[in-house]
């Protein structure tokens, strides 16, 4: 048993974090709320150049041919920075499904984020080529997730392949939730250290400490389930779906708990759109109900254990 990442995997995570710290700042994410494409101009190309987008795709098609354990920390970073790009949909879900790199993929059961900039779209109905569909836009509470209903003729996709792809997508979202929770915690810890009331930092009050400690505990015990699910995906473990569902259930809970606590501990400043916290709050709310919510995933676990 060796439950840790390799130096190479950590280096790829660090490189991704460095890139996103520069190229996907809160200002970039805000810009994606209002610009024409709803994404960060140039970011996708940079992620692609790093190999992140095609990480799971076969080398012969321009991918890196690596496995999900190599990808999961990268996806956690994309959550930490609230990256407004179809990275889970392309890198985790779609690239192995279409069998090659270089295709931008959007995917969701119903409301599909970033469908307007994808080459291929997957929904509950099956596979669509972008060229042949009509997209009906819907605004999301997270302005950096442009949603579309997809109308057109779908082609059926092989069942086993879709289930495996779904599990990869769910695990990717769970990893993003961990990244988001960590970011919100960090923002809040920084804030309560500085913010003073009654002559002391508000972070010195036990009520505030205990809120944040509870959120930190939730993250501490969600992450290992996400990493274990990633390993199960990579190893094609027979219980992968159960492991993935445990991960999504705990990661959603950690992100939502952290979101509540982060807002509460910020007070009124957190309740504005001028302050950055809302970018992460809203992403976590949206992701918690995407790819099956926690209750849906506990249902999958329930059928396995009861």
């Amino acid at each position: 048993m060796h439950f840790a990442f390799t130096d190479e995997q950590l280096a790829l995570r660090d490189a991704t974090r460095d890139l996103l710290t520069k190229e996907c700042t809160p200002a970039h994410v805000r810009d994606a709320w209002t610009n024409a494409a709803g994404r960060v101009p140039g970011l996708w190309e940079q992620l692609d150049a790093m190999g992140v987008v095609g990480l799971l795709a076969p080398e012969a098609t321009g991918g890196l041919g690596l496995d999900f354990v190599d990808l999961v920390l990268v996806l956690e970073e994309t959550g930490r920075h609230a990256v407004p790009e179809p990275i889970v949909e392309t890198a985790a879900y779609g690239a192995p499904l279409v069998g090659r790199a270089g295709v931008t993929i959007a995917a969701s059961e119903w409301y599909v984020p970033w469908a307007d900039s994808a080459d291929v779209i997957f929904t509950a109905a099956g596979r669509f080529e972008r060229a042949g569909v009509t997209l009906v836009p819907h605004p999301s509470v997270d302005g950096a997730r442009r949603l579309f209903e997809v109308q057109g003729t779908a082609t059926a996709v092989d069942g086993d392949g879709v289930l495996a792809a779904y599990d990869r997508g769910v695990c990717g979202i769970a990893a993003q939730q961990c990244g988001l929770a960590d970011r919100m915690l960090q923002l809040t810890a920084d804030y309560v250290r500085e913010r003073r009331q009654f002559g002391v930092p508000v972070g010195s009050f036990q009520a505030v400490k205990h809120h944040l400690a509870n959120a930190r505990i939730a993250l501490e015990f969600a992450r290992p389930l996400v990493y274990r699910a990633a390993a199960s995906i990579a190893a094609e473990h027979p219980d992968t779906s159960v492991h993935v569902s445990m991960a999504k259930s705990k990661a959603d809970a950690a992100a939502l708990q952290t979101a509540r606590v982060a807002l509460q501990c910020h007070g009124a400043i957190g309740y504005t759109t001028e302050y950055d916290l809302h970018l992460y709050l809203k992403r976590s709310w949206a992701l918690a109900r995407s790819w099956g919510d926690a209750a849906f995933h506990r249902g999958r676990v329930s059928r396995a254990i009861l």
Binding site: H2, F3, G203, A213, E220, R223, R228, L306
Partner: protein, 383 residues
């Protein structure tokens, strides 16, 4: 990342399993927190020791088998899965022993460890006092220098001492320099309880067992050889012990996995009581037990690479203590009107529930742990 068990580990697991199947006492022993039950448990400890299963991770010379951390986790999983007895020696082998390995002299190791492993000497913990619980550094029991005798004289009172009425020895903190600042001037002593000046009064716990005791010290002599670590530096030594108490060594995931499995078995026989809400709670609790297991594997991998853990043990302590309560509460809900019965096969759930309720209190209350997490993990200001 490799989440598989090696061939040697699988072999070890199989050995543990078949030995436990053949030896675990049936029916289950009476509670080890009563006088009769304690004696029965010591016999079981002797059986474990003779088969080198009492202290698997210790060096061979002290009765162990030099098991790796991974093998120790495997042993614990198998131990609790087999429904084997509680370990009445646990405060010695899981709390004091790691501290002796770290701070003890060669003489202390050679004298204390083999007798502890064999259950010949049983150890209780002398931390809390009537006016020092969570605020451990507030202890008032005194150690006064006895230069002529080459040792110290202890006076004062310890309380809530688990199994203090049955144990032969106590490890504890005493104030040896009353002039020093709170955390300084404390010394860690190893004390035999069968000597003049010591009075032990059993105290009945919430669950009705005499599992607690008050221990009174009236001018009790302890030689220098029984000081663990340096005089007046007992705080650092004690912190090593409390780290073990909160974290991995006392509460391996095998315990909670075994409880969670028994809970699922119970749920299968109580389907009338298993509504949607309880089903969802049951699944959540199962996922939490799994999360605890995998967080442990994560931590053990780091430990195997030589990385030390610090304040993380506070997160672990809050998590397992609350998980344990939830597992038992769910069982009581499923038992419905049978839950309150103290006879029959299911009575163990109420007993277990009462024990679980102590979890958020001992080893530093969960409120204190949350302060530690906020301050040392998240960097929030103390004041």
């Amino acid at each position: 990342m490799d989440l598989s068990e090696s061939a040697a580990e699988q072999q070890f697991r199989a050995e543990c399993r078949s030995w436990l199947e053949a030896h675990v006492p049936r029916p289950a022993l009476p509670s080890g927190d009563t006088r009769a039950g304690f004696a029965a448990h010591l016999e079981w400890e002797r059986t474990l020791f003779d088969a080198r299963y009492a202290v698997v991770s210790w060096p061979r010379e002290y009765g162990g088998r030099e098991a790796s951390l991974w093998e120790w986790l495997i042993f614990e999983e198998e131990y609790y899965a087999a429904g084997a007895p509680q370990r009445v020696t646990q405060n010695g082998i899981f709390l004091l022993a790691p501290t002796i390995f770290e701070f003890g002299t060669q003489e202390q190791k050679d004298y204390v460890l083999p007798k502890m492993a064999a259950g010949e000497h049983t150890w209780c913990q002398g931390w809390s006092e009537p006016n020092a619980g969570s605020d451990l550094a507030g202890i008032q029991s005194r150690a006064t220098r006895d230069e002529a005798g080459g040792g110290w004289r202890l006076s004062g009172q310890k309380t809530w001492t688990t199994r203090g009425a049955f144990c032969t020895h106590l490890f504890g903190l005493f104030r040896s320099d009353p002039e020093a600042e709170r955390h300084r001037g404390l010394t860690y002593f190893l004390v035999a309880l069968d000597q003049p000046g010591i009075t032990v009064r059993p105290v009945e716990r919430l669950d009705g067992d005499e599992g607690f005791a008050e221990v009174f010290f009236d001018d009790v002599f302890v030689p220098d050889a029984d000081v663990l670590g340096e005089p007046n530096e007992g705080w650092a030594v004690a912190m090593a012990t409390t780290g073990s108490e909160r974290g991995l060594t006392l509460r391996s995931p095998g315990r909670f996995m075994a409880t969670a499995r028994r809970l699922i078995e119970l749920a299968r026989t109580r389907t009338d009581e298993l509504d949607e809400t309880r089903r969802d709670r049951l699944v959540s609790a199962w996922i939490d037990a799994e999360a605890y297991r995998w967080q442990t594997f994560w931590t053990v991998t780091r430990a195997a690479q030589g990385m030390k853990s610090g304040a993380e043990s506070s997160m672990v302590k809050v998590f397992w203590s609350e998980l344990d309560i939830e597992l038992h509460e769910l069982a009581l809900d499923l038992l419905g009107r049978h839950a309150e019965l103290l006879d029959g096969d299911d009575a163990a759930w109420m007993k277990g529930y009462e024990f679980a309720l102590a979890g958020p209190i001992y080893a530093g209350t969960n409120e204190i742990q949350r302060n530690v997490i906020a301050e040392r993990v998240l960097g929030l200001p103390r004041k």
